[in-house]
Structures are given as C-alpha cells and as structure tokens.
C-alpha cells in the first residue's frame, strides 16, 4: 500500500541539503503543492524536532518527520526525499531518507505504518533506500 501513496510526484532525489530544517521543508514540498497539508504543517514539524528532540530519526539514516492532524493535514499522504549526502541533527543522529507523514486522524495511517515498519526492520532495505537513485529502484525496495 505504500506505493499507492508514494507516487512518482511525491518522491524526490537530491544531492544534499543545507541542514535538517531545509531537508524537512524540501521533503514536504510535494505534500504542500498537492494540498495534502497546509504550509504551517511544515513549520510545526520543524518546531516539534526542536522541542522534543530528533526522535523522528527512527533509525540511522531514516527520518519520519510528522506533526498532528490538527496542525494542518487535509488528507492522508506521504512524500519522500532521498539525499545522497546525509544531514546531521542536534545530537549527532544522521539521516538521508526523509519520509514525511501527513495523518488526518489517529487511525487511518496505522496500516501504512505497519507496512513501513516491516520495511524498516530490514537493514538491507534501509541501506538500499538510502542509496536509491531512481523512483523505479525505490518502489522495488518498498
């Protein structure tokens, strides 16, 4: 089901980003453009990291920025950014895969997260995602 949400227009590949804030903004751009979220959702995601720490880095190389439904989510969506060069967070955690989650309520995204969890349980798949260069490569992995 992940591939149903991660359509080609929601996935980006870039060489690098200035810092983690810029990476989150860039990663979320398709969601804003296609009106899945309001622009303020992006700022809230960044604020959350400042307030709660970089726990959105779920495991080395992989971050899942998100905020709450009431922070400006219009409908369920995902967008993905793969950076060739990782960016560093405050406590030295690094990430180059950014999967932005927009959840409109407390439940509708849970099956997506279960599926994602199965992907993340495989170190090989996370490595492959972090070094993916094309959309086709990425879709094969998930």
């Amino acid at each position: 089901m992940l591939e149903k949400y991660l359509t080609a227009e929601m996935v980006q590949f870039k060489a690098d980003s200035e810092n983690w804030q810029e990476a989150i903004k860039l990663a979320a751009e398709p969601l804003v453009q296609h009106h899945f979220v309001e622009p303020k959702y992006v700022d809230t995601m960044i604020e959350n990291v400042k307030q709660f720490g970089p726990y959105i880095v779920l495991l080395p190389k992989f971050a899942m920025p998100h905020a709450r439904p009431e922070d400006g989510v219009n409908k369920l969506g995902l967008s993905l950014l793969v950076l060739e060069k990782a960016v560093e967070f405050a406590d030295g955690k690094i990430a180059n895969v950014f999967l932005v989650l927009a959840a409109p309520d407390k439940d509708s995204h849970l099956s997506l997260l279960s599926e994602l969890s199965a992907v993340l349980a495989s170190e090989e798949k996370v490595e492959a995602m972090a070094s993916a260069k094309t959309y086709q490569e990425l879709i094969k992995i998930i």
């Binding site: 726990y55 495991l59 899942m64 709450r68 959840a103 995204h109 279960s114 994602l116």
Partner: protein
Amino acid sequence: MKILVVCGNGLGSSFMMSMNVQKAMKELNIEGTCSHTDLASAKTENADYYIGSPEIMDQLNDGKRKTIPLVNMFSLEEIKKALTTHILKG
C-alpha cells in the same frame, strides 16, 4: 503490567515503537498491555512504565513515574535489554 509508549505526537513513532515493544514483551514472557500516546496525554495517564526517546522521558520524569529511555526504537535487542534491566531486574 501496563506499559505506555510515548512520543511527541502520539500517532507515528510511538505506534511503531509499541509494535516492537509488544514483540519484546512476548519474547521475554512479560505479561501485560502496551499502548501508545502523546506526551501531553501521558502526563495524565497512569502506567507502570513509560517508554520513549530520552528527550521525551526527561520531560515525563517527575521522580515518581518509572521511565525507560530508548535510543533506537527499531532495535529489538535494545528494547529487550531495556525491559530486562528496568522490569525483570527492577
């Protein structure tokens, strides 16, 4: 035994972490329930143990709550180690 997994928003990371905590509980034969919530709600919800990132645990720790900080929530090994140290040997 009630374990509450806590994250900032209570809808993404804590859900995924709770799936792994449940797996670890099963493997260690710890009886009980594990649910997930956000930081604000966790402050008013009673549980035997609270699990989450070190930053979240710092904000929850009032000296009375039993908190278990986890760095890598996808490492089943780390979760099992933490549960063993805090609960089984606690």
